[in-house]
Symmetry: C2
Subunit: 579 residues, 2 copies
């Protein structure tokens, strides 16, 4: 294709609302256009990238015996009522009614539709296991779409659902899918994507993994052990704390701490470290506004996902009103209103001689010892793991925390949906059971943006050849020169005849502007044809990432380009094939 | 793929709610499953057919310089307010609001999104012409979804939008697209699809064509001339009526016609034919309920689309209330309340000595002659063309009326959207203009269902090889026979290695059940491997449409099958290539 026919604009200025680079570059490069909050249209370059990613996914899903199907975007509310998610999912689920007043929803995932599709088919154990997947548009009414294609409301997603007759079979298939996902990311040019143990959230089920591309702009925090292979989303990472005994237990003493409300203030005031405090954090349950008080060691923070999972319901940071009976800033476990929900984080287990609030304005206790002063309490892990924390696997203090973008996830769902929707199969003895399910998702647009995030420089994306919108970009510098134009034209046609995807720039513009556009399109191989080069009998072939810069005789240029394409593809696919 | 792994059920009973064959067969064959009114999920066979149709469309769109893009399914209401369609389109447009109360719509067509995407890009005349297209899920809240995939609420559609700087350029491109569409239908195996002149309806614009597959179950009526190549949708077909002079004009006479309210009654009562009457049909405007009286020759019917286009607003059959001042059953042009909107159909032009209502209960006039008794009136064509009517092109009485399914349409939109949405470009002299647009649609699922409708027998679909879910269906009859099973296994693997798409049935079931399933899957080439055949050293190769039935030496079976695939494809594509 000739660049002057490519619909879409490329421009120099970074859009003021683009916080992350992939967002800025995909707007600047004419990849997409904002339509409304969290909704974009795609121009040809992004559509081509998406299609290549989809084909990579398709191939790997087919290789593990997946069957591509298609579920509807619009589903009846009744289907989501069957699973219970019509009520349990928040405002992300877009609900509306049709001309006859029937409730509808826009699909954000398709567990319900998957069960509905195979409920009759899967009545005999002989049909199992099987996996169905689709690549389809989805909509989630996110509260805060951000970062371009990283978090949108409308997106294309591959979602797969597997059905099994035993947990062992699910686990076996889960591992196949685990590997297939690694291959997908490798083929998309980002083999560095890591898997992390994750929280299953609203999907239900127990074991689940996320595929993370580490980048400072990621929304997720990931705990990684630098010594062993432990990796977990912060939301799922066990926070191990070992409190050493201090020898002698101090006496419990009420002390005057006027206006010392925060842990920083009170520990400084009393000349102690934050580790020696028992901090209180107040939450309220979303449904009832009932207070929940979390006590944890002063140097830790609450992880709200862990807390939500423990409570079985969502919470928000509490607002302490004067008539609540809670002494904000001075809350402590001793003498607290016994009707309140109280949670002790495991970071307090074995901690001695603590400072804690006295539930009275301007007073704290020192020498607080939980077991001695309160008796036996139950500890739960609701705190965030921290940099330098203890690895739950190897036990060393080797945890580091990184940020990442979640580019895929896999879940062992169990029987949550089959049970709720009454899908059963008969085993060989005629007994009915609920099939055990797994589900597996990849966001196509988010993956494209993530690759851009991981592979770009100041001037544009550096697309891996396996997902690049085109493979070769010919720049004919000085297209007013007859020989140069003629040579470039011929090369363009020969490459297209060989099935190579070529972007051809023969505009009569200055080389700088031409190269800026080429940088923004990020095509892996750039061929520069110019009168000066041709006078020397050569053509320049550069890679977009600048690792390859060669001058080849013009007679062998075609061959060299085709070889380079094959080489680049091989390099990427060899990694995938070795997984 | 092995048939016992294919997700989906095949069954014998025709579902009671399936009125048309394609609907029944696509349910019975495990192609799709009902989810809610007008919404289906697709199993692998239908998804594969859809994908092949999409690839055929893509190829032809790319061949006429189309660029594949992607517009959102969910669009902001504000975008549709710009074009005016947010108000003008009826309940088919699904409207709802997001968590912030912002209005959204589900895309049913994407003219607005197309203009929004290229409004900035297309500011200079040098960028024109260009065409962008997408293949995307759409939703229309149809009042009466019916006939399986023929009329649904959710569907996959290819919609294309072209932009031009002159009407001539649009017309030139329109003809390219016209041919590309013919090629698409030919490649999908239905070259008999015809083009008909159509009404542009809510899309705006003037010239438009529909691509019709003629079938008795079609929703559209098409006027076709048996002598020339005139073809038009009934909604757009000019109704030509020539009234010959009767010589002498009769005297206008009021006659008593007690209880003779219908045209049939009054013409019989007065011993005249229906041709000799001036019939009145009462409508009301949808917005105001204002009456519209249409007079036309008694042997014709009103075409509501023509009437709507003439009035510029929608109407519904009128309800004549006692206080309306209208004498239901006795309405006539003479002495009618002059405040009423009255339309004379062209079928009355030159008609003499008519019977008409006298606007008084139980009275009609005879000898009514419009020009003499009323003076000059304006005639408009608002009647349906009829079987045996006059062809507007060749003038012969050779019109026949057939039914058809609309499988595609192309429109010359003009500047309706560019003007409403203020998209302008500058010409070489710096003057601003509105670009002229064309739009071009094909419903993927409807095309699949239409092909099934046109290509099936009592036992199942007969898919053209270019869109068939698989190319070859191997039936291993008596898979308990080691030699047969071994041979079939090997043939299956060899074919797959050659890139052939194979469905393989090696279930140990009776041949009849096996063939029923094969009939329902409608795969064009069937290979029967059986102990009896192998004893004779042969393999049976049959075509699904039964035109080919051969027994070939087992040694050459592979070659024969591959040749047959190539032949079948060539036969179909040769037709397309000759267009």
């Amino acid at each position: 294709m000739k660049i002057d026919r490519l619909v879409g604009e490329r421009f120099k200025e970074r859009p003021s609302d683009a916080v992350v680079d992939s967002h800025a570059l995909m707007l600047r490069g004419g990849y997409m256009k904002y339509v409304t909050n969290g909704v974009f249209s795609q121009y040809a370059p992004l559509k081509r990238i998406s299609k290549k990613i989809e084909d990579i996914i398709r191939k790997e899903m087919d290789a593990i015996d997946g069957q591509e199907v298609l579920f509807p975007v619009v589903m009846p509310a009744s289907l989501w009522e069957e699973s219970g998610r019509y009520m349990s999912v928040g405002k992300e689920l877009m609900r509306f009614t049709d001309r006859n007043g029937s409730g509808l929803v826009l699909g954000m995932t398709h567990e319900e539709a998957a069960v509905q599709l195979v409920r009759e088919y899967g009545q005999s154990y002989t049909k199992y296991p099987f996996m169905i997947y689709q690549i389809q548009t989805k909509f989630r009414d996110e509260a805060r779409p951000r970062a371009g294609l990283i978090r949108v409301r409308e997106f294309t997603m591959k979602d797969a659902y597997s059905f099994h007759t035993s947990q062992e079979d699910l686990e076996k298939y889960y591992m196949e899918c685990y590997k297939a996902y690694q291959k997908i990311f490798a083929r998309a040019g980002v083999p560095e994507v890591i898997t992390v143990k994750s929280d299953s959230g609203m999907m239900g089920g127990s074991v689940s993994h996320e595929y993370m591309l580490l980048t400072p702009i990621g929304e997720d925090s990931i705990a990684i052990c630098t010594e062993c292979d432990y990796r977990a989303n912060m939301e799922a990472a066990d926070n191990i704390v070992i409190n050493e005994s201090k020898g002698e237990l101090e006496e419990l003493k009420k002390v005057h701490t006027p206006d010392q409300k925060t842990i920083e203030e009170v520990s400084a005031f009393l000349g102690k470290s934050q580790e020696d405090t028992c901090k209180a954090v107040v939450y309220q349950k979303n449904m009832t506004d009932e207070y929940v008080i979390v006590f944890l060691r002063g140097d830790f923070e609450v992880n709200e996902t862990k807390l939500t999972n423990l409570l079985g319901e969502a919470v928000h940071p509490g607002e302490v009103t004067p008539d609540s009976g809670i002494a904000a800033g001075f809350i402590g476990p001793m003498g607290l209103d016994s009707s309140l929900t109280v949670i002790f984080d495991s970071s307090l287990k074995g901690a001695e001689n603590l400072i804690c609030g006295a539930n009275e304005a301007d007073y704290h206790y020192t020498g607080f010892n939980i077991e001695r002063d309160l008796g036996k309490v139950e500890y739960n892990d609701v705190a965030k793991i921290t940099e330098g924390g203890i690895c739950p696997v190897c036990g060393k203090k080797t945890i580091t925390v990184k940020r990442g973008i979640e580019v895929g996830n896999i879940f062992q769902l169990g029987t949550k949906y089959s049970k709720a929707m009454n899908m059963t199969y008969y085993d060989s003895e005629g007994n009915a059971h609920y099939p055990i399910m797994g589900c597996y998702g990849i966001g196509v647009g988010r993956l494209a943006a993530s690759v851009c995030e991981a592979r770009h420089d100041d001037y544009g994306p550096i697309w891996p050849i396996t997902i690049a919108p085109w493979e070769v970009h010919i720049c004919c510098v000085r297209s007013d020169d007859e020989e140069a134009h003629g040579f470039a034209d011929a090369l363009y046609k020969e490459l297209e005849n060989k099935g190579v995807e070529v972007m051809y720039d023969d505009r009569n513009i200055r080389a700088g502007a031409m190269f800026s556009d080429a940088d923004l399109l990020g095509i892996p191989i750039r061929v520069i044809v110019s009168p000066r080069n041709l006078k020397d009998g050569i053509v320049e072939i550069n890679s977009r990432d600048k690792t390859i810069q060669m001058k080849v005789p013009k007679e062998t240029a075609l061959r060299e380009i085709i070889d380079l394409i094959a080489e680049m593809k091989k390099e990427i696919n060899d990694i995938a094939d070795s997984i």
